[in-house]
Structures are given as C-alpha cells and as structure tokens.
Symmetry: C2
Subunit: 411 residues, 2 copies
Amino acid sequence: MALYVQKYGGTSVGTVERIEAVADKLQRFKEEGHDLVVAVSAMSGETNRLIGLANAIQDDPSPREMDVLVSTGEQVTIALLCMALQKRGIQARSYTGSQVRILTDSAHMKARIQDIDVERMRGDLEAGRVVVVAGFQGVDAEGNITTLGRGGSDTTGVALAAALKADECQIYTDVDGVYTTDPRVVEDAQRLEKITFEEMLEMASLGSKVLQIRSVEFAGKYKVPLRVLSSFKDGPGTLITTEEEETVEKPVISGIAFNRDEAKLTVQGVPDIPGVASRILGPISDANIEVDMIVQNIAADQTTDFTFTVHRNDYTKAETILRGIAKDLGAREVVGNNKIAKVSIVGVGMRSHAGVASKMFDALALENINIQMISTSEIKVSVVIAEKYLELAVRSLHSAFDLGKVDTVSE
Amino acid sequence: MALYVQKYGGTSVGTVERIEAVADKLQRFKEEGHDLVVAVSAMSGETNRLIGLANAIQDDPSPREMDVLVSTGEQVTIALLCMALQKRGIQARSYTGSQVRILTDSAHMKARIQDIDVERMRGDLEAGRVVVVAGFQGVDAEGNITTLGRGGSDTTGVALAAALKADECQIYTDVDGVYTTDPRVVEDAQRLEKITFEEMLEMASLGSKVLQIRSVEFAGKYKVPLRVLSSFKDGPGTLITTEEEETVEKPVISGIAFNRDEAKLTVQGVPDIPGVASRILGPISDANIEVDMIVQNIAADQTTDFTFTVHRNDYTKAETILRGIAKDLGAREVVGNNKIAKVSIVGVGMRSHAGVASKMFDALALENINIQMISTSEIKVSVVIAEKYLELAVRSLHSAFDLGKVDTVSE
C-alpha cells in the first residue's frame, strides 16, 4: 500500500501495443493496492516528427511556439494511456502540465519546475483513480506552455514524487538498471542494487545516460527514492538513494564511466599571471561551447600550460577561438587532440579509502596505457587516454576493482 | 483598418506549404493595416489519425480523454502558423482553447461555448500581434479540455468575432462561396454575393454543407457579419448577413438545396385520434433516429396516413420499430422507400411573393416529375421525389427561377 510515481519513457509508450502493456503493468500495481501517479513521455518518434514540421518552416523557431508544438506529444500519450486503463476497468484521469498544474519559470524549452499543485491529484487518488500526467511540460505564471527540455519527463516524475511525498519514484526505461559499466564493453558488467545520488550524478554526466542529470539532482535534493527499471523485463532495477551502505559492505568503486565524445585542447606557454584562465575560457563560453575537464600546470619557465576538454563537435570551433586568444596572450602554441577518451572510476567508497587513484593508475600502467590528463573529485577520478585504448582501459579497471560477477551476464 | 477574425479549415492548413500560404495571405491583410485574430483547424487527416489511435485501444473511449487527445491537432497548427508568421517578420502569438480562454460547458466532444475572455487577445492586438487561436476546443469551469464537436472550428471563429466585436468573421474553406445550387449538378450555378442567415441555415441543413449550422446560428444571434471565402482562390466569397436586400433587387429564390441521404416511411391507416403522432415518433426518437420532414393527411375513413423521412442509414432500424408501433396502434400498414431525394427552394424573397410554390410544382410537372411529399416553411419549400429525377429537378428549378448566369461558370 504505497504511493508510487512511475515514469514511462518514449520507447515504453512507443506504440498502442506498448501503451497497452504499460496499462497491464499498472493494473498489477493497482491490484496490489498501490496508489499510482504516472508521468509519460511522447510516443517515440513523435517529438522528432513535430520538430521536423517546425524546421520545415523555420530553422530557429520561437521557443514559445516550439513548446506549444512539442507539448502535444505527451498530451496524446496521456489520453491514450487513460483509455487503455479505462478499458481494463481502472479509473484514470489525464492532466497536461498546465492542468496539474506544474508551475515553471518562463525559460521556454528549458524551463525549471517551481511548484506543483497536488490538490487535484490527491482528490483523484482518494477517489481511487490513477493519475496520468504529461511529462516534460509545465506552464508559466502567465499561462504559457513550457517544456523542461529533452529528457525532462524524468524530472517531471521526480518532481511529482517530491510534491506528493511518494514512497518511490520509479523510472521505467529500456535498460533494467544502472550497471557497473557499459555491458557492451565489459561482458560481465553487473547491475547495481543500489547507488547513491552523488555516484549516479557522476555516472550520468560521464556518459552512462540512464537518467537525465537534472532529475537525479532533483531527487537528491528532495530525498526522493528513485528506482530505474525496465519496461520490458521484470526485475528490481537499481535504487538510487541517499543512504550510504555501511563501509564494510560497500565496494570502494561503484562503476566505471567513460565518454568518447570529447576532444582536448592545450594552450602552451601561457604567461603565468592572474586572470589567464578566464581570458582563455571566457570567449569559449561566449561561443556557447561547454567545457568539461580543466587542468593547469606550472611549467619551469614562469609560463603555464592550460588544457581543457570540449565536446568533439566543438573542437574546430574552439581551436579557432583559441588561436586568436593565444596570440593576444603571447602564448607559445595551441595543440589539440580529438582522438581521446575519458575514463572515470566513481564511488562514494573512495572517500574513506586511500590509494584508489594509484590503484587506477597502476592498472592502466600494467596495460601500458599512457594517461594524458587527470582530474579528480571527492567520489571520482577521471583520466584522459588515447581513444584506441578505451575498451582495454575500461575492462582492466572493471577487473582491478572487482566489479564483475562470477557468472557472466547473459544478454 | 478593420478587425477581422479569420478561420482556416483543415484543408487550408493541411501541409506545411499550405500553412505558409495562409501566412502569406495574413501578411497581406496585415500590410493593409488590419488587425487579425485567426482560428485554425487541425491539419487535414490529423484528427482522423488521432481517432484511429484511440480506436486501436477502445471502440468507445471516454469523451474526456478523446478531447484531451484530439485537441492536440489544432495545437500543432497554431504553433506552426505562428512560426510561419514570425518567419515573415510578423509578430504572432498562439493560444489553445484553454489559454484564451474559451469557456464551455462540460459536454465533452460536443461542448457549447459559454464565454470568451478577450482581455489577453486585446493586449496582443494593441501590441501589433496576430492572435492565432486553436479552433474547435475550449475548457470547462474545472479546467478540463473540451471540444465543440467536428466542424466546430467555424463556431470558434464566429464566437471570437462576436466576443471581440470584429468587423467581419471570414471563413476560409475549399469552396469560394455559397452557390445557388451544387455546381456539380447545375453547370451554371452562380456564386451568391450575399445571403441571409436564415437562408444559409436552410441551405446548410439541406445539404449545402459549406458552414457548420451551429456557427451560422451563432453568427445570426450575435449579428456577426460572416463571409465564406476560398483559401486557394482570391475572390469576395459570399457574405452572410442579417440585412435583407430591398425587395425590388432581391431575387425571389436564393438557391436550390437538395439531399440524397433520406428515406421515407409511412404508417397507413392510423386511427385519427389525439396523441398518435407522439406515439409514433416517440420510440423513433428514443432510438436516436433523427426525423426530418413530417407530413400527415386525413384520409376519408377516419384514419390518417403518417409519413416522415429519416437518414437513409436509419431506414431499416426505423422500419422495424414502426412495424411494432403500427400493430399496437391498429394501423393498416407500414410502407417505405429509400430511393427518394429531397429538393428545396430557399429564399427570404418568397415571403412577399405569392405563387412561388406553384411555380415550383409547375416546373416539376413540366418534366413529369411526381411529387411524393411536400413541406413548407416561411422561406423554403421542400419536395420529396424519386431519387432518379434529382438532377433533372434541380436543373429545371434552377432555370425556372432564373438562378443561372448568362456566361457559364468555369471550373
């Protein structure tokens, strides 16, 4: 007898048949006596179809009108899911973001949720109804339709769970949980039973794209227990929680994350004077290029080497900007490399364990993998290596930190 | 410098290219200095696509959820049209039915408009913006999405024009006006410059389906000048107005309407006692069968023949019901015919002209067309004839009342 907020993504509701399957699943939860609030995405492909219509008219359409347009995608799903529930004799009622209402700021296409009115949903739950809410969308104070940006349905789910003080927010997706690393790279990658919000954030931002980052931050902030499960396969999934396991049981490292999409740029021989970092990164940021890792070393000759990574798509653009800056700064040279990969070990356990980083470096050295860049946070160590060593590095680290199962995971 | 409310139907906004063409048209009106409020339908085919999704789940889905579903159709169009306007440098803002807000009763799928809040639209118009409103939809007092039923976008246009006290409500459609009769039947059918609301109602209900009846009633009630025009062809269209022309200029008959969809049923030898009509029609109405013409004659033997017409699709159902009633009433026989057609002459001019009906009967007699049933109203005379004579009857009446042009209408 719990209150669950469940979120079903675009693939899970991609066809009428899959919507019927979701309704079957909800029926089982309902029969177990649980109260259900369900947030859904647009049917897969629908959002792209709508964006295609807009782009046939304009390359850069008004964000306000884009929100009016794409918010119809989820609105279709909520109606269809309610019909599928009603067909099964389950009372259900759908709400758009504005109907709930999910109040957001006015930043169209990337709005943030400010408040959720739970009164109407509470009334429906008390009347025994399943509440079906359009994910990804809200309404601003002036009544304009807003969207939370792509993937924002996760955030809707978490925000609903927080507002309703739900027992758990369950995100149904096409993977059955969070793994120690990508099973396509490491065959015996293991599904994690539990992971902390902080670890999940590091895993997500590093390329294990199971959940939208903002939804995890939100869940962490409001302490909403969050569970990732598969829509297509029964199983307990992975629980993302604030509770840290006792250190004895807790493995030092929870997972290995990696990212192939980055490129590295270095300005060499920069005069070592205050304000250099912002003079380099200011124009990069002005050009809307996002910077990930930043490393700076003092060289012997009173100059410094300044290195950072950007998305590979921004590499050429960033390099051009850098050449101009380097000239102005009197720096020696700009060098870059877009054949790199970032590999990170993540785990709250490393807080209380010394030597985690050196164990990582040892494992890589054993395979003769050269480390080009290092960056660390409290629960993460990231290295940049040549892209060709990526799989080798991930496998050797997975094994060095004993993350594999005894028996191999079957497909 | 007028305020126009314009309505574009599904065919007019059926593709991105057609939406661009509508934007071009609006741009011209804007450049002439007019204020514009535009009501649009869903892109043609979209509403049927959505209904198809619903019916894949349930034959008879909840009306509330159907409204949530199908209202997305117009929401897509308003966003795309605003984008097309903005691309042309025209400021525009879209509103769904709930955003405007168009307050309706709670009769889902056939809601009636109760009130329209014009404040926000007035603000937009003052700021020089084109206001684009989703037709066909509204919101009830509890915030539930409602729709006005199919074809309801015309009603939205008229209701907006009434609320805003617009100079004219212009309904853009795929025909370029109201004709004296169907040009597919009579080659020299003529476009009418003007027609009264009453005539239009008689024409519409008799099968000249240019405008949704309810929108004409609404326009008549609130005295909104209504103009039907073509989206695809420039021209003045037909103005539907309360002003009657001076009798001298006014033709006696405005048009010939006809309908092939009816069937006729007669209960013969009904005892001529009070209450018979309701005992016959009560069960028909209870079975949700709509009755059109009703004629009753007293026969010589103190019994009466009771005849009425129904939609051809309801013929068999109605006949079965009638046989039961006839037995109870002690009537002699039930006879029917579904190979009939109804032809009507319509015109406010006949009010002040005697002999219009006899001129009609003469014209039909000249062609040896037998009249099976006659029914008259103040501005209309309808006859039922054998279906095979329909075209002949329409052509001879069109000619008898001098409705044709001197030069033939080109296609």
